[in-house]
Symmetry: C2
Protein backbone atom coordinates (compact mmCIF):
# COMPACT_ATOMS: atom_id res chain seq x y z
CA UNK A 1 0.00 0.00 0.00
CA UNK A 2 2.73 2.37 0.93
CA UNK A 3 4.44 1.80 -2.39
CA UNK A 4 1.21 2.53 -4.24
CA UNK A 5 0.68 5.70 -2.23
CA UNK A 6 4.26 6.78 -2.91
CA UNK A 7 3.72 6.19 -6.61
CA UNK A 8 0.55 8.26 -6.56
CA UNK A 9 2.38 10.99 -4.69
CA UNK A 10 5.26 10.98 -7.17
CA UNK A 11 2.79 11.04 -10.06
CA UNK A 12 0.93 13.97 -8.48
CA UNK A 13 4.14 15.89 -7.98
CA UNK A 14 5.12 15.22 -11.60
CA UNK A 15 1.74 16.35 -12.87
CA UNK A 16 1.93 19.52 -10.78
CA UNK A 17 5.46 20.18 -12.02
CA UNK A 18 4.35 19.75 -15.63
CA UNK A 19 1.40 22.06 -15.05
CA UNK A 20 3.74 24.65 -13.57
CA UNK A 21 6.12 24.38 -16.53
CA UNK A 22 3.19 24.75 -18.90
CA UNK A 23 1.92 27.79 -17.01
CA UNK A 24 5.39 29.31 -16.98
CA UNK A 25 5.78 28.69 -20.73
CA UNK A 26 2.38 30.25 -21.31
CA UNK A 27 3.31 33.28 -19.26
CA UNK A 28 6.84 33.52 -20.73
CA UNK A 29 7.76 37.13 -21.43
CA UNK A 30 7.26 37.75 -25.15
CA UNK A 31 9.48 40.85 -24.94
CA UNK A 32 12.47 39.65 -22.89
CA UNK A 33 14.82 42.40 -24.14
CA UNK A 34 12.50 45.15 -22.91
CA UNK A 35 12.92 46.50 -19.41
CA UNK A 36 9.74 46.63 -17.38
CA UNK A 37 8.37 50.12 -17.56
CA UNK A 38 5.79 52.38 -19.16
CA UNK A 39 6.80 51.70 -22.78
CA UNK A 40 6.70 47.92 -22.51
CA UNK A 41 3.50 48.02 -20.48
CA UNK A 42 1.76 50.24 -23.04
CA UNK A 43 2.55 47.69 -25.79
CA UNK A 44 1.39 44.69 -23.78
CA UNK A 45 -1.78 46.48 -22.66
CA UNK A 46 -2.63 47.51 -26.22
CA UNK A 47 -2.15 44.02 -27.63
CA UNK A 48 -4.20 42.52 -24.80
CA UNK A 49 -7.18 44.81 -25.32
CA UNK A 50 -7.39 44.59 -29.12
CA UNK A 51 -7.06 40.79 -29.14
CA UNK A 52 -9.40 39.93 -26.27
CA UNK A 53 -12.67 38.55 -27.58
CA UNK A 54 -15.58 40.54 -26.20
CA UNK A 55 -13.38 43.49 -25.24
CA UNK A 56 -14.85 46.86 -26.34
CA UNK A 57 -11.52 47.46 -28.10
CA UNK A 58 -11.43 44.09 -29.89
CA UNK A 59 -10.12 44.28 -33.47
CA UNK A 60 -10.68 41.36 -35.88
CA UNK A 61 -7.36 39.79 -37.01
CA UNK A 62 -7.78 41.02 -40.61
CA UNK A 63 -7.71 44.63 -39.37
CA UNK A 64 -4.68 44.20 -37.12
CA UNK A 65 -2.35 46.13 -39.42
CA UNK A 66 0.96 47.22 -37.88
CA UNK A 67 3.38 49.47 -39.78
CA UNK A 68 7.04 50.09 -38.99
CA UNK A 69 9.54 52.54 -40.33
CA UNK A 70 12.87 50.80 -41.08
CA UNK A 71 15.92 53.10 -40.76
CA UNK A 72 16.36 54.03 -37.10
CA UNK A 73 13.27 52.07 -36.06
CA UNK A 74 14.20 48.48 -36.93
CA UNK A 75 17.94 48.94 -37.56
CA UNK A 76 20.66 51.59 -37.10
CA UNK A 77 20.81 54.56 -39.44
CA UNK A 78 23.96 56.30 -38.19
CA UNK A 79 26.24 57.86 -39.24
CA UNK A 80 24.30 57.52 -42.53
CA UNK A 81 21.49 55.16 -43.62
CA UNK A 82 22.68 51.72 -44.73
CA UNK A 83 21.51 52.20 -48.31
CA UNK A 84 24.09 54.96 -48.71
CA UNK A 85 26.90 52.49 -48.04
CA UNK A 86 25.37 50.35 -50.75
CA UNK A 87 25.41 53.34 -53.11
CA UNK A 88 29.08 54.04 -52.35
CA UNK A 89 30.06 50.41 -52.91
CA UNK A 90 28.12 50.34 -56.18
CA UNK A 91 29.86 53.50 -57.43
CA UNK A 92 33.22 51.82 -56.79
CA UNK A 93 32.10 48.58 -58.44
CA UNK A 94 30.76 50.37 -61.52
CA UNK A 95 33.65 52.87 -61.84
CA UNK A 96 35.68 50.80 -64.36
CA UNK A 97 32.74 51.08 -66.79
CA UNK A 98 32.57 54.85 -66.19
CA UNK A 99 36.00 56.46 -66.70
CA UNK A 100 34.23 59.85 -66.81
CA UNK A 101 33.42 59.51 -63.10
CA UNK A 102 37.08 60.15 -62.22
CA UNK A 103 36.54 63.82 -62.93
CA UNK A 104 32.80 64.16 -62.53
CA UNK A 105 31.15 65.07 -59.23
CA UNK A 106 29.70 63.65 -57.06
CA UNK A 107 31.38 60.45 -58.31
CA UNK A 108 34.98 61.75 -58.25
CA UNK A 109 34.89 62.53 -54.53
CA UNK A 110 33.46 59.12 -53.70
CA UNK A 111 36.17 57.37 -55.72
CA UNK A 112 38.74 59.37 -53.72
CA UNK A 113 37.11 58.09 -50.52
CA UNK A 114 35.59 61.46 -49.65
CA UNK A 115 31.89 60.74 -49.26
CA UNK A 116 31.36 63.93 -47.30
CA UNK A 117 32.37 66.18 -50.21
CA UNK A 118 30.32 64.04 -52.59
CA UNK A 119 27.21 64.59 -50.48
CA UNK A 120 27.88 68.32 -50.13
CA UNK A 121 25.94 68.57 -53.40
CA UNK A 122 22.78 67.88 -51.38
CA UNK A 123 19.67 66.10 -52.65
CA UNK A 124 20.65 66.59 -56.27
CA UNK A 125 24.01 64.85 -55.80
CA UNK A 126 22.33 62.05 -53.87
CA UNK A 127 19.67 61.60 -56.53
CA UNK A 128 22.37 61.42 -59.22
CA UNK A 129 24.22 58.76 -57.23
CA UNK A 130 21.07 56.72 -56.65
CA UNK A 131 20.06 56.80 -60.30
CA UNK A 132 23.55 55.86 -61.50
CA UNK A 133 23.67 52.87 -59.15
CA UNK A 134 20.03 51.75 -58.95
CA UNK A 135 18.81 52.15 -62.56
CA UNK A 136 19.81 50.73 -65.93
CA UNK A 137 19.46 47.08 -64.98
CA UNK A 138 16.60 44.64 -64.57
CA UNK A 139 14.69 44.10 -61.32
CA UNK A 140 16.05 40.54 -61.13
CA UNK A 141 19.64 41.73 -61.60
CA UNK A 142 19.24 44.44 -58.97
CA UNK A 143 17.73 42.01 -56.42
CA UNK A 144 20.66 39.66 -56.97
CA UNK A 145 23.20 42.46 -56.35
CA UNK A 146 21.43 43.55 -53.16
CA UNK A 147 21.25 39.95 -51.91
CA UNK A 148 24.99 39.49 -52.36
CA UNK A 149 25.91 42.84 -50.86
CA UNK A 150 23.74 42.51 -47.74
CA UNK A 151 25.23 39.13 -46.79
CA UNK A 152 28.78 40.54 -46.63
CA UNK A 153 28.71 44.32 -46.15
CA UNK A 154 29.70 45.52 -42.69
CA UNK A 155 29.21 48.69 -40.71
CA UNK A 156 32.42 50.78 -40.74
CA UNK A 157 32.31 51.52 -37.03
CA UNK A 158 31.01 48.33 -35.44
CA UNK A 159 32.38 45.85 -37.96
CA UNK A 160 29.07 44.00 -37.74
CA UNK A 161 26.96 42.91 -40.69
CA UNK A 162 24.31 45.59 -41.23
CA UNK A 163 21.64 42.93 -40.73
CA UNK A 164 23.16 42.27 -37.29
CA UNK A 165 22.51 45.90 -36.41
CA UNK A 166 18.79 45.36 -36.27
CA UNK A 167 17.23 46.02 -32.87
CA UNK A 168 16.61 42.87 -30.85
CA UNK A 169 13.71 44.44 -28.88
CA UNK A 170 12.00 45.40 -32.15
CA UNK A 171 12.51 41.91 -33.61
CA UNK A 172 10.75 40.60 -30.50
CA UNK A 173 7.97 43.14 -30.94
CA UNK A 174 7.41 42.12 -34.59
CA UNK A 175 7.21 38.44 -33.59
CA UNK A 176 4.95 39.22 -30.63
CA UNK A 177 2.52 41.14 -32.82
CA UNK A 178 2.43 38.39 -35.46
CA UNK A 179 1.82 35.78 -32.74
CA UNK A 180 -1.20 37.90 -31.82
CA UNK A 181 -2.64 37.91 -35.33
CA UNK A 182 -1.13 41.19 -36.55
CA UNK A 183 0.11 41.59 -40.12
CA UNK A 184 3.41 43.52 -39.95
CA UNK A 185 4.46 45.94 -42.69
CA UNK A 186 7.51 48.11 -43.34
CA UNK A 187 6.83 51.70 -44.45
CA UNK A 188 10.24 53.15 -45.20
CA UNK A 189 11.69 56.14 -46.98
CA UNK A 190 14.37 53.73 -48.20
CA UNK A 191 14.25 51.91 -51.52
CA UNK A 192 11.56 49.25 -51.74
CA UNK A 193 13.74 47.01 -53.91
CA UNK A 194 16.73 47.53 -51.63
CA UNK A 195 14.75 46.03 -48.73
CA UNK A 196 12.65 43.27 -50.24
CA UNK A 197 15.48 40.80 -50.97
CA UNK A 198 16.26 40.33 -47.26
CA UNK A 199 13.37 41.53 -45.05
CA UNK A 200 11.74 38.10 -44.91
CA UNK A 201 14.93 36.47 -43.63
CA UNK A 202 15.83 39.27 -41.21
CA UNK A 203 12.46 40.60 -39.98
CA UNK A 204 10.04 37.83 -41.01
CA UNK A 205 8.33 40.39 -43.27
CA UNK A 206 7.61 39.11 -46.82
CA UNK A 207 8.25 41.33 -49.89
CA UNK A 208 4.55 42.07 -50.42
CA UNK A 209 4.47 43.70 -46.96
CA UNK A 210 7.42 46.01 -47.65
CA UNK A 211 6.63 49.53 -48.86
CA UNK A 212 9.30 52.06 -49.72
CA UNK A 213 10.48 54.69 -52.15
CA UNK A 214 10.84 53.54 -55.73
CA UNK A 215 12.07 54.38 -59.19
CA UNK A 216 10.01 53.59 -62.26
CA UNK A 217 10.26 50.26 -64.06
CA UNK A 218 9.34 49.35 -67.60
CA UNK A 219 8.29 46.03 -69.16
CA UNK A 220 10.59 45.09 -72.05
CA UNK A 221 11.41 42.04 -74.14
CA UNK A 222 15.10 41.06 -74.09
CA UNK A 223 15.88 38.22 -76.52
CA UNK A 224 12.28 37.06 -76.34
CA UNK A 225 12.27 37.10 -72.53
CA UNK A 226 10.24 39.67 -70.59
CA UNK A 227 12.16 41.79 -68.10
CA UNK A 228 11.42 44.84 -65.98
CA UNK A 229 14.04 47.51 -66.59
CA UNK A 230 14.76 49.97 -63.78
CA UNK A 231 14.57 53.53 -65.13
CA UNK A 232 16.38 56.64 -63.83
CA UNK A 233 13.14 58.34 -62.77
CA UNK A 234 11.51 58.69 -59.36
CA UNK A 235 8.23 56.80 -59.03
CA UNK A 236 7.27 57.37 -55.40
CA UNK A 237 8.82 58.97 -52.31
CA UNK A 238 7.60 57.10 -49.25
CA UNK A 239 8.51 59.66 -46.62
CA UNK A 240 6.70 62.23 -44.48
CA UNK A 241 3.28 62.92 -46.09
CA UNK A 242 4.15 60.15 -48.56
CA UNK A 243 3.84 57.52 -45.82
CA UNK A 244 0.05 57.73 -45.37
CA UNK A 245 -0.23 57.89 -49.17
CA UNK A 246 1.89 54.72 -49.45
CA UNK A 247 -0.07 52.96 -46.71
CA UNK A 248 -3.34 53.70 -48.48
CA UNK A 249 -1.96 52.79 -51.91
CA UNK A 250 -0.32 49.50 -50.94
CA UNK A 251 -2.40 48.28 -48.00
CA UNK A 252 -5.75 49.99 -48.42
CA UNK A 253 -6.41 49.77 -44.67
CA UNK A 254 -5.39 52.06 -41.85
CA UNK A 255 -2.89 50.67 -39.33
CA UNK A 256 -3.97 50.28 -35.71
CA UNK A 257 -0.32 50.35 -34.59
CA UNK A 258 2.58 52.30 -36.05
CA UNK A 259 6.18 52.77 -34.98
CA UNK A 260 8.71 55.30 -36.24
CA UNK A 261 11.68 57.24 -34.95
CA UNK A 262 11.79 60.58 -36.75
CA UNK A 263 9.83 63.51 -38.13
CA UNK A 264 9.64 61.49 -41.36
CA UNK A 265 7.20 59.22 -39.53
CA UNK A 266 5.01 61.95 -38.04
CA UNK A 267 2.28 61.79 -40.69
CA UNK A 268 2.17 58.00 -40.54
CA UNK A 269 1.57 58.24 -36.81
CA UNK A 270 -1.06 60.97 -37.26
CA UNK A 271 -2.82 58.89 -39.92
CA UNK A 272 -2.80 55.89 -37.59
CA UNK A 273 -4.05 57.93 -34.64
CA UNK A 274 -6.96 59.39 -36.65
CA UNK A 275 -8.71 56.03 -37.11
CA UNK A 276 -11.59 54.81 -34.97
CA UNK A 277 -11.05 52.53 -32.00
CA UNK A 278 -7.94 51.64 -30.04
CA UNK A 279 -4.67 52.87 -31.54
CA UNK A 280 -0.99 52.60 -30.70
CA UNK A 281 1.60 55.16 -31.83
CA UNK A 282 5.23 54.58 -30.91
CA UNK A 283 8.56 56.36 -31.38
CA UNK A 284 12.02 54.89 -30.87
CA UNK A 285 14.05 57.64 -29.20
CA UNK A 286 17.80 57.31 -29.75
CA UNK A 287 19.11 58.08 -26.27
CA UNK A 288 21.95 55.62 -25.98
CA UNK A 289 25.28 57.12 -27.08
CA UNK A 290 27.14 54.23 -25.49
CA UNK A 291 25.40 51.22 -27.00
CA UNK A 292 24.10 52.87 -30.21
CA UNK A 293 23.80 56.60 -30.94
CA UNK A 294 22.12 59.50 -29.19
CA UNK A 295 20.41 62.02 -31.46
CA UNK A 296 17.07 63.76 -31.94
CA UNK A 297 16.16 67.41 -32.53
CA UNK A 298 19.38 68.55 -34.19
CA UNK A 299 20.40 65.48 -36.15
CA UNK A 300 20.62 65.72 -39.94
CA UNK A 301 19.87 61.98 -40.15
CA UNK A 302 16.69 60.80 -38.44
CA UNK A 303 15.78 64.19 -37.00
CA UNK A 304 13.18 63.82 -34.26
CA UNK A 305 11.73 67.17 -33.27
CA UNK A 306 8.11 67.93 -34.15
CA UNK A 307 7.06 64.30 -33.87
CA UNK A 308 8.56 64.19 -30.36
CA UNK A 309 6.54 67.25 -29.35
CA UNK A 310 3.38 65.72 -30.78
CA UNK A 311 4.09 62.39 -29.05
CA UNK A 312 4.50 64.17 -25.73
CA UNK A 313 1.37 66.26 -26.22
CA UNK A 314 -0.77 63.32 -27.27
CA UNK A 315 0.59 60.65 -24.97
CA UNK A 316 2.10 58.46 -27.67
CA UNK A 317 4.63 55.89 -26.49
CA UNK A 318 8.22 57.14 -26.60
CA UNK A 319 10.73 54.33 -26.20
CA UNK A 320 14.06 55.36 -24.72
CA UNK A 321 16.68 52.98 -26.09
CA UNK A 322 18.86 53.61 -23.05
CA UNK A 323 16.20 53.01 -20.43
CA UNK A 324 13.72 50.67 -22.08
CA UNK A 325 15.98 48.19 -23.84
CA UNK A 326 18.13 45.61 -22.05
CA UNK A 327 20.14 44.95 -25.17
CA UNK A 328 20.20 46.76 -28.50
CA UNK A 329 21.47 44.27 -31.08
CA UNK A 330 20.94 40.50 -31.38
CA UNK A 331 23.65 38.62 -29.47
CA UNK B 1 -24.14 -14.29 -28.13
CA UNK B 2 -26.16 -13.64 -31.23
CA UNK B 3 -27.14 -10.24 -29.93
CA UNK B 4 -23.51 -9.39 -29.20
CA UNK B 5 -22.44 -10.50 -32.69
CA UNK B 6 -25.23 -8.47 -34.22
CA UNK B 7 -24.12 -5.45 -32.23
CA UNK B 8 -20.56 -5.94 -33.42
CA UNK B 9 -21.78 -6.27 -37.00
CA UNK B 10 -23.86 -3.11 -36.73
CA UNK B 11 -20.92 -1.29 -35.17
CA UNK B 12 -18.62 -2.46 -37.99
CA UNK B 13 -21.07 -1.34 -40.63
CA UNK B 14 -21.36 2.06 -38.96
CA UNK B 15 -17.60 2.44 -38.74
CA UNK B 16 -17.24 1.50 -42.42
CA UNK B 17 -19.99 3.94 -43.36
CA UNK B 18 -18.29 6.72 -41.41
CA UNK B 19 -14.97 5.90 -43.05
CA UNK B 20 -16.60 6.04 -46.47
CA UNK B 21 -18.22 9.38 -45.71
CA UNK B 22 -14.87 10.70 -44.53
CA UNK B 23 -13.15 9.43 -47.69
CA UNK B 24 -15.84 10.95 -49.88
CA UNK B 25 -15.54 14.28 -48.07
CA UNK B 26 -11.79 14.16 -48.51
CA UNK B 27 -12.12 13.43 -52.21
CA UNK B 28 -15.00 15.91 -52.70
CA UNK B 29 -14.60 17.81 -55.94
CA UNK B 30 -13.13 21.25 -55.07
CA UNK B 31 -14.28 22.58 -58.45
CA UNK B 32 -17.87 21.27 -58.73
CA UNK B 33 -18.96 23.88 -61.29
CA UNK B 34 -16.24 22.85 -63.73
CA UNK B 35 -16.96 20.13 -66.29
CA UNK B 36 -14.39 17.37 -66.44
CA UNK B 37 -12.03 18.11 -69.27
CA UNK B 38 -8.61 19.43 -70.19
CA UNK B 39 -8.98 22.85 -68.52
CA UNK B 40 -10.10 21.52 -65.15
CA UNK B 41 -7.52 18.73 -65.28
CA UNK B 42 -4.70 21.18 -66.01
CA UNK B 43 -5.60 23.20 -62.91
CA UNK B 44 -5.87 20.18 -60.62
CA UNK B 45 -2.61 18.70 -61.97
CA UNK B 46 -0.76 21.98 -61.47
CA UNK B 47 -1.96 22.44 -57.90
CA UNK B 48 -1.10 18.81 -57.10
CA UNK B 49 2.47 19.04 -58.35
CA UNK B 50 3.41 22.39 -56.77
CA UNK B 51 1.96 21.44 -53.37
CA UNK B 52 3.26 17.85 -53.11
CA UNK B 53 6.18 17.69 -50.69
CA UNK B 54 9.19 16.14 -52.37
CA UNK B 55 7.83 16.74 -55.87
CA UNK B 56 10.43 18.27 -58.23
CA UNK B 57 7.88 21.03 -58.88
CA UNK B 58 7.18 21.73 -55.19
CA UNK B 59 6.78 25.44 -54.38
CA UNK B 60 6.93 26.66 -50.74
CA UNK B 61 3.62 28.24 -49.62
CA UNK B 62 5.15 31.73 -49.39
CA UNK B 63 5.90 31.64 -53.12
CA UNK B 64 2.47 30.39 -54.17
CA UNK B 65 1.38 33.71 -55.62
CA UNK B 66 -1.70 33.62 -57.87
CA UNK B 67 -2.86 36.71 -59.77
CA UNK B 68 -6.25 37.26 -61.38
CA UNK B 69 -7.55 39.92 -63.69
CA UNK B 70 -11.01 41.10 -62.56
CA UNK B 71 -13.22 42.38 -65.42
CA UNK B 72 -14.14 39.43 -67.66
CA UNK B 73 -12.07 37.02 -65.56
CA UNK B 74 -13.83 37.07 -62.19
CA UNK B 75 -17.04 38.89 -63.18
CA UNK B 76 -18.85 40.04 -66.34
CA UNK B 77 -17.61 43.06 -68.26
CA UNK B 78 -20.27 43.36 -70.96
CA UNK B 79 -21.68 45.43 -72.50
CA UNK B 80 -19.29 47.75 -70.61
CA UNK B 81 -17.15 47.25 -67.47
CA UNK B 82 -19.07 47.65 -64.20
CA UNK B 83 -17.07 50.70 -63.15
CA UNK B 84 -18.54 52.62 -66.07
CA UNK B 85 -22.05 52.14 -64.66
CA UNK B 86 -20.70 53.57 -61.43
CA UNK B 87 -19.34 56.58 -63.34
CA UNK B 88 -22.69 57.17 -65.03
CA UNK B 89 -24.58 56.95 -61.74
CA UNK B 90 -22.10 59.33 -60.10
CA UNK B 91 -22.51 61.88 -62.92
CA UNK B 92 -26.27 61.82 -62.35
CA UNK B 93 -25.86 62.09 -58.57
CA UNK B 94 -23.42 65.00 -58.85
CA UNK B 95 -25.29 66.86 -61.64
CA UNK B 96 -27.25 69.18 -59.30
CA UNK B 97 -23.92 70.59 -58.07
CA UNK B 98 -22.74 71.06 -61.68
CA UNK B 99 -25.35 73.00 -63.72
CA UNK B 100 -22.66 73.54 -66.38
CA UNK B 101 -22.79 69.80 -67.19
CA UNK B 102 -26.18 70.27 -68.88
CA UNK B 103 -24.42 71.80 -71.86
CA UNK B 104 -20.92 70.41 -71.49
CA UNK B 105 -19.83 67.14 -73.12
CA UNK B 106 -19.38 64.36 -72.27
CA UNK B 107 -21.64 65.10 -69.28
CA UNK B 108 -24.58 66.49 -71.27
CA UNK B 109 -25.06 63.27 -73.27
CA UNK B 110 -24.97 61.14 -70.14
CA UNK B 111 -27.56 63.30 -68.43
CA UNK B 112 -29.77 62.82 -71.51
CA UNK B 113 -29.32 59.06 -71.10
CA UNK B 114 -27.09 58.76 -74.15
CA UNK B 115 -23.92 57.09 -72.83
CA UNK B 116 -22.91 56.02 -76.32
CA UNK B 117 -22.52 59.61 -77.55
CA UNK B 118 -20.77 60.54 -74.32
CA UNK B 119 -18.16 57.85 -74.91
CA UNK B 120 -17.73 58.79 -78.58
CA UNK B 121 -15.14 61.25 -77.23
CA UNK B 122 -12.85 58.26 -76.61
CA UNK B 123 -10.25 57.99 -73.87
CA UNK B 124 -10.26 61.73 -73.26
CA UNK B 125 -13.98 61.83 -72.55
CA UNK B 126 -13.68 58.76 -70.33
CA UNK B 127 -10.78 60.29 -68.40
CA UNK B 128 -12.77 63.48 -67.89
CA UNK B 129 -15.72 61.48 -66.56
CA UNK B 130 -13.53 59.45 -64.23
CA UNK B 131 -11.79 62.50 -62.80
CA UNK B 132 -15.06 64.36 -62.27
CA UNK B 133 -16.57 61.41 -60.39
CA UNK B 134 -13.57 59.83 -58.64
CA UNK B 135 -11.55 62.86 -57.50
CA UNK B 136 -12.17 65.84 -55.23
CA UNK B 137 -13.14 63.84 -52.16
CA UNK B 138 -11.30 61.92 -49.46
CA UNK B 139 -10.39 58.23 -49.72
CA UNK B 140 -12.77 57.46 -46.85
CA UNK B 141 -15.64 59.30 -48.53
CA UNK B 142 -15.01 57.54 -51.83
CA UNK B 143 -14.89 54.10 -50.20
CA UNK B 144 -18.22 54.81 -48.50
CA UNK B 145 -19.86 55.81 -51.80
CA UNK B 146 -18.55 52.66 -53.54
CA UNK B 147 -19.75 50.46 -50.67
CA UNK B 148 -23.27 51.86 -50.88
CA UNK B 149 -23.43 51.70 -54.67
CA UNK B 150 -22.19 48.13 -55.00
CA UNK B 151 -24.80 46.76 -52.59
CA UNK B 152 -27.71 48.07 -54.67
CA UNK B 153 -26.60 48.68 -58.28
CA UNK B 154 -27.90 46.15 -60.79
CA UNK B 155 -26.91 45.10 -64.27
CA UNK B 156 -29.27 46.68 -66.85
CA UNK B 157 -29.71 43.45 -68.81
CA UNK B 158 -29.84 40.72 -66.18
CA UNK B 159 -31.32 42.74 -63.32
CA UNK B 160 -28.84 41.02 -61.00
CA UNK B 161 -26.57 42.78 -58.54
CA UNK B 162 -23.19 43.22 -60.21
CA UNK B 163 -21.62 41.20 -57.39
CA UNK B 164 -23.96 38.34 -58.33
CA UNK B 165 -22.44 38.36 -61.81
CA UNK B 166 -19.16 36.97 -60.56
CA UNK B 167 -18.27 33.59 -62.03
CA UNK B 168 -19.06 30.68 -59.73
CA UNK B 169 -16.31 28.45 -61.24
CA UNK B 170 -13.73 31.18 -60.60
CA UNK B 171 -14.94 31.69 -57.01
CA UNK B 172 -14.36 27.96 -56.53
CA UNK B 173 -10.91 28.24 -58.10
CA UNK B 174 -9.93 31.11 -55.75
CA UNK B 175 -11.07 29.10 -52.71
CA UNK B 176 -9.36 25.94 -53.98
CA UNK B 177 -6.05 27.76 -54.44
CA UNK B 178 -6.24 29.36 -50.99
CA UNK B 179 -7.05 25.96 -49.45
CA UNK B 180 -3.78 24.82 -51.04
CA UNK B 181 -1.70 27.60 -49.52
CA UNK B 182 -1.84 30.09 -52.40
CA UNK B 183 -2.13 33.82 -51.77
CA UNK B 184 -4.65 35.20 -54.29
CA UNK B 185 -4.30 38.70 -55.76
CA UNK B 186 -6.35 40.82 -58.15
CA UNK B 187 -4.41 42.63 -60.89
CA UNK B 188 -6.97 44.75 -62.67
CA UNK B 189 -7.04 47.65 -65.10
CA UNK B 190 -10.00 48.88 -63.04
CA UNK B 191 -9.72 51.35 -60.19
CA UNK B 192 -7.98 50.02 -57.09
CA UNK B 193 -10.21 52.02 -54.76
CA UNK B 194 -13.32 50.98 -56.68
CA UNK B 195 -12.57 47.31 -55.92
CA UNK B 196 -11.12 47.29 -52.42
CA UNK B 197 -14.33 48.12 -50.51
CA UNK B 198 -16.00 44.82 -51.56
CA UNK B 199 -13.41 42.27 -52.81
CA UNK B 200 -12.97 40.68 -49.40
CA UNK B 201 -16.70 40.02 -49.04
CA UNK B 202 -17.21 38.88 -52.64
CA UNK B 203 -13.93 37.12 -53.56
CA UNK B 204 -12.30 36.56 -50.17
CA UNK B 205 -9.46 38.82 -51.32
CA UNK B 206 -8.42 41.49 -48.76
CA UNK B 207 -7.67 45.10 -49.83
CA UNK B 208 -3.90 44.67 -49.53
CA UNK B 209 -4.08 41.97 -52.22
CA UNK B 210 -5.97 44.13 -54.70
CA UNK B 211 -3.92 45.99 -57.31
CA UNK B 212 -5.45 48.27 -59.91
CA UNK B 213 -5.25 51.59 -61.68
CA UNK B 214 -5.16 54.64 -59.46
CA UNK B 215 -5.32 58.40 -59.26
CA UNK B 216 -2.97 60.36 -57.03
CA UNK B 217 -3.83 61.13 -53.42
CA UNK B 218 -2.50 63.83 -51.12
CA UNK B 219 -2.17 64.02 -47.35
CA UNK B 220 -3.98 67.06 -45.94
CA UNK B 221 -5.21 68.34 -42.62
CA UNK B 222 -8.95 69.12 -42.54
CA UNK B 223 -10.03 70.76 -39.26
CA UNK B 224 -7.06 69.19 -37.51
CA UNK B 225 -7.85 65.74 -38.87
CA UNK B 226 -5.59 64.09 -41.47
CA UNK B 227 -7.27 62.99 -44.68
CA UNK B 228 -6.13 61.70 -48.05
CA UNK B 229 -7.63 63.80 -50.83
CA UNK B 230 -8.17 62.13 -54.22
CA UNK B 231 -6.63 64.32 -56.94
CA UNK B 232 -7.66 64.57 -60.61
CA UNK B 233 -4.35 63.10 -61.84
CA UNK B 234 -3.47 59.60 -63.02
CA UNK B 235 -1.05 57.79 -60.71
CA UNK B 236 -0.76 54.34 -62.31
CA UNK B 237 -2.38 52.43 -65.17
CA UNK B 238 -2.47 48.76 -64.28
CA UNK B 239 -3.12 47.35 -67.75
CA UNK B 240 -1.10 45.57 -70.44
CA UNK B 241 2.63 46.22 -69.79
CA UNK B 242 1.52 47.95 -66.57
CA UNK B 243 0.42 44.63 -65.08
CA UNK B 244 3.91 43.14 -64.62
CA UNK B 245 5.03 46.56 -63.35
CA UNK B 246 2.17 46.57 -60.83
CA UNK B 247 2.88 42.99 -59.77
CA UNK B 248 6.52 43.83 -59.11
CA UNK B 249 5.70 47.10 -57.39
CA UNK B 250 2.98 45.79 -55.08
CA UNK B 251 3.91 42.14 -54.56
CA UNK B 252 7.64 41.99 -55.27
CA UNK B 253 7.38 38.32 -56.22
CA UNK B 254 6.53 36.69 -59.52
CA UNK B 255 3.23 34.77 -59.67
CA UNK B 256 3.34 31.02 -60.38
CA UNK B 257 -0.27 31.11 -61.60
CA UNK B 258 -2.06 33.87 -63.49
CA UNK B 259 -5.50 34.11 -65.07
CA UNK B 260 -6.81 36.70 -67.48
CA UNK B 261 -9.28 36.97 -70.34
CA UNK B 262 -7.99 39.59 -72.75
CA UNK B 263 -4.99 41.09 -74.51
CA UNK B 264 -4.72 43.41 -71.53
CA UNK B 265 -3.53 40.38 -69.56
CA UNK B 266 -0.98 39.13 -72.10
CA UNK B 267 2.08 40.68 -70.44
CA UNK B 268 1.00 39.44 -67.00
CA UNK B 269 0.83 35.91 -68.42
CA UNK B 270 4.19 36.32 -70.19
CA UNK B 271 5.77 37.63 -66.98
CA UNK B 272 4.35 34.67 -65.06
CA UNK B 273 5.50 32.18 -67.69
CA UNK B 274 9.07 33.55 -67.70
CA UNK B 275 9.78 32.51 -64.11
CA UNK B 276 11.63 29.34 -63.14
CA UNK B 277 9.80 26.15 -62.21
CA UNK B 278 6.22 25.05 -62.76
CA UNK B 279 3.88 27.76 -64.05
CA UNK B 280 0.19 28.01 -64.89
CA UNK B 281 -1.18 30.52 -67.37
CA UNK B 282 -4.93 30.62 -67.95
CA UNK B 283 -7.40 32.55 -70.10
CA UNK B 284 -11.16 32.69 -69.69
CA UNK B 285 -12.58 32.55 -73.22
CA UNK B 286 -16.04 34.08 -73.53
CA UNK B 287 -17.78 31.52 -75.74
CA UNK B 288 -21.22 31.44 -74.21
CA UNK B 289 -23.63 33.83 -75.92
CA UNK B 290 -26.57 32.13 -74.24
CA UNK B 291 -25.54 32.15 -70.59
CA UNK B 292 -23.14 35.15 -70.67
CA UNK B 293 -21.57 36.77 -73.75
CA UNK B 294 -19.50 35.49 -76.66
CA UNK B 295 -16.66 37.75 -77.77
CA UNK B 296 -12.96 37.68 -78.49
CA UNK B 297 -10.89 38.99 -81.40
CA UNK B 298 -13.18 41.77 -82.54
CA UNK B 299 -14.64 43.01 -79.27
CA UNK B 300 -13.97 46.60 -78.22
CA UNK B 301 -14.34 45.51 -74.57
CA UNK B 302 -12.10 42.67 -73.42
CA UNK B 303 -10.55 42.05 -76.81
CA UNK B 304 -8.83 38.64 -76.88
CA UNK B 305 -6.68 38.26 -79.97
CA UNK B 306 -2.90 38.21 -79.58
CA UNK B 307 -3.06 36.60 -76.15
CA UNK B 308 -5.25 33.82 -77.61
CA UNK B 309 -2.67 33.15 -80.32
CA UNK B 310 0.11 33.06 -77.74
CA UNK B 311 -1.91 30.77 -75.47
CA UNK B 312 -2.48 28.36 -78.35
CA UNK B 313 1.17 28.45 -79.42
CA UNK B 314 2.50 27.95 -75.89
CA UNK B 315 -0.06 25.50 -74.56
CA UNK B 316 -1.55 27.81 -71.93
CA UNK B 317 -4.93 26.77 -70.56
CA UNK B 318 -7.86 28.30 -72.44
CA UNK B 319 -11.13 27.89 -70.55
CA UNK B 320 -14.23 27.83 -72.74
CA UNK B 321 -17.08 29.19 -70.64
CA UNK B 322 -19.58 27.24 -72.76
CA UNK B 323 -17.83 23.89 -72.57
CA UNK B 324 -15.87 24.01 -69.32
CA UNK B 325 -18.35 25.58 -66.92
CA UNK B 326 -21.52 23.86 -65.67
CA UNK B 327 -22.91 27.12 -64.39
CA UNK B 328 -21.71 30.70 -64.88
CA UNK B 329 -23.11 32.73 -61.98
CA UNK B 330 -23.69 31.78 -58.33
CA UNK B 331 -27.18 30.33 -57.88
Amino acid sequence: MKTARTQILIASVLICALALVATAAHAADPLPSWNDGKAKQSIVDFVAKVTKDGSPDFVPPADRIATFDNDGTLWSEQPVPVQLYFVLDRVKALAPQHPEWNTKEPFASILKGDAKSALAGGDRALLELVMATHAGLTTDEFAQIVKQWITTAKHPRTGRLFTDMTYQPMLELLAYLRANGFKTFIISGGGIEFMRPWTERVYGIPPEQVIGSSIKTQFEMQNGKPVLMRLPAIDFVDDKTGKPVGINKFIGRRPILAFGNSDGDQQMLEWTAAGNGARFMGLVHHTDAKREWAYDRKSSIGKLDKALDEATAKGWTVVSMKDDWKIIFPQ
